[in-house]
Amino acid sequence: MKNLKSLLYLIILVALLAIPVIGITAASAAEHNPESIVRWCEDWPTYIDPAVGTDFSDTMAIVQLYDTLIFPNLDGSVRPHVAEKWDISDDFLTYTFYLRKGVKFHNGDELTAEDVVFSTERLFDIGEGFAYILQTKDAQGKIIAGIESVKAIDDYTVEFKLARPFGPFVPALVRLYILNKSQVMKNIDKSNAMYGEMGDYGKKWLLTNDAGSGPYKVKEMKMEESLLGEKFDDYWDGWEEGAPDFFKEFAFPGEVAIRTMMKNQELEITSETLPMEAYAALREIPGVETIAYLSTHNLQIMLNTRVPPTDDIHFRKALSWAMDYDVVVNDIWPYYVQSVGPVPQTLPGHNKDVLQYSYNLEKAKEEMAKSAYAGKENIPFTLSWCAEVPDEEKVALLFQVNAAEIGIDVEIFKKPFGLMIDDAQTVKTTPNGSVVYVAAHYNEAGSMLDTRYHSKSQGTWEQCEWLGSPNIDTAIEVALATVDEDERFKEYAEIQNTLVDLAPTIWLADQALEFGYQADYLVWPLAERVKAGKSSSPPMGYSFYVRDMKILVEKKAELLKK
């Protein structure tokens, strides 16, 4: 009886002690501070379904909502994340990942291997999003590269089998986002039979909801307007003091609105697409600073190597020597740097020793003299630039002027991107030159080489060169199948040398992204790195990983009072 009484007292004591604890927990969840928010604007709409979204706007949101097996660092390397460790088989065809225990989805379910399997299969069944990075099929639908199959060995072990060795497989996994299988299955629209018994695979529901385990969860998603994310208090990796309680991404409103919102502290980070004058104006606003860093994108003029006159290697080299690169990187885009070969300099595997063409009319004329067009005047040349990127016109006009100096008559066409895609489908409709930005799909040189110069990308906008070289194809395949990183990078370097010698492209500049941000009250790891002079090349979207940022709420309140 006495024991029972003691037990009762103990229960009451525990209950009394628990009340404030529960109260605090409940209060902390409910007391997210609306002022502790990071807001930015981007191209819209944003697709937050990881099997659909692929662009900058999409990935900025997806990385907040979903976890991945491994995680990219700001310097471009990767580290374990949901997967604590992994094994690779001797034939480099089987990867076994061991998952962390206790990772919770936003609805409280535990993340297991079954969710990883489901997310992978869903990605490939839908075939959109980043599926193309992790699996390649031939025209008959046979898997020829990437993940062939995936299975759960137990709750915390998942095994991927590859169709053939793929060296950058682990870095590429930053694009495999893990969804909560049971939650998605509960929200499948069976009335839409697009994916057979899987109905719409939850696509409609996932347009405005998330089924992730990431540090933030969807609080409100308004199609055509904005996404508001709220901190997930039970995030498995915990939280540091000052981490933002909310993030908001919304549609780009225009330059004046951005300036106004930055001045009124209604926006923390600007878009990267503002004109130079706008960044200068932003720097005039107290507390606002701008940063610029080199991305994994570069700007190029692709030369169609199958039609005259660009089918002549000396003609192409002449053009490469005739281009005034300094104007591009000093006058048109001051933060850009001249490209060194086909791979952006921030990408692991870039060959910095490759030949770099420069503006040299003597060499250009020498090459022209060796070409089949020697001595000819007003050689016709067609050049397209993308109507959606107005600054490309400056490059087109510069090219026209430079080419005229060696007797080439460039006819310029401004084309919507959709039309450029159509043109790229056949050799005949592809113009002599196409001014295009290209981005690496994952953080390695192999990504750029594979999608730009392997024959499989012929007929797409990513290869207006129509290079079609079996030797280059084989070299790329061999390099990508090399698991040893040093060896793989050597092979990448050799391919870059070969390409520069073939001059199928004029590699103009590596793109720099410039942002304005509220430096007085926002601590942004990427900005800190850039200011410290360290190179930063996170995969698309990860530069905005909000969990690592900090909002100095008191400082912000002080600024608002002024």
Partner: protein
Amino acid sequence: MRLGPFVLRRLAISIFVLFGLSILIFLIARIVPGDPARMALGPRAPVDVVERLRQQMHLDRPLLEQYGLWLWEVAHGNLGDSLVTRRPVKQDIREFFPATLELVGLTAIFIIVGGISLGVISARYANTWFDNVVRLFSYLGIVTPAFAWAVILMLLFGFVWHIFPTYGRLTEGVIPPVTITGMYTIDSLLNGRFDLFWDAFMHLILPAIALALPPMSQAARITRSSMADNQNKDCIASMIAYGVPNRVVTGKYLLKPSLISPITVMALDIAATFGYAFMVEKIFGFPGLARYGIQVMLNKDVNAIVGVVMVLGVVFITLNIVVDIIVAYLDPRIRLLGRNV
């Protein structure tokens, strides 16, 4: 005036107009270069996935068959899915149209009240300093496009003096009223939430003024010149000679016939605002139908393009019918002509 047959006749004609418009826009949306499925799925989507979407959207069928299928779906209340928002176009229009309607509604009030008032006062005090100021203001208003006004107003009242909100329909974090009409000002009043009404109203002021200034200026000019023309007519001089008070002469005998031209122009301007509001909506981050319309056009979102254009077509036709009725009310000659016909 027998309004019934008149309206019925106009409605019957409108059906044919809408039918013609649907054929035209359906064809234009589909024959302009670029594969909608490829644009929706992105350049890296596999061919089989693109082909699956093309089949789902019937883009692999002949144009005539596509139109027939579209018409069949429309008859069942389905405008198809948007490739941009990935949801039914009907749902998009239901969400975005009330926002634009609310904005254009306030714009219309500014145009009508501002345009007529300025025109009347200007005519009343013709060739005085006030008239000259209004004329100068009108010229400035007409030659400056709405988006330029939007930028100027935002700089003045958002950047220099932070008086008005400059983004969205409501202040950040404020929960919208329960949807009844989709127009926040109306819904907040119906819900008895005056705080929300004020918030939504404040968000409308700058974009509405920006949109209203050019057509309002035009309306003021037309009202003034129309009033000035009628002022010199013998009947008006007779009335003044008989001692009819100036207030009555101006309000009843002068203004009424003078409004025919301004009303026609204002109505067309208001209808056009639904379409050209896109820049102003974009600048103020206002999620309306005009901004949506431009976005779907840039993305070759065929179903959404047709849906938006059809809605705008209905707006134009409706406003035209309303104007015809008002004009018929104002001008007995038109009423009588209608009866004879």
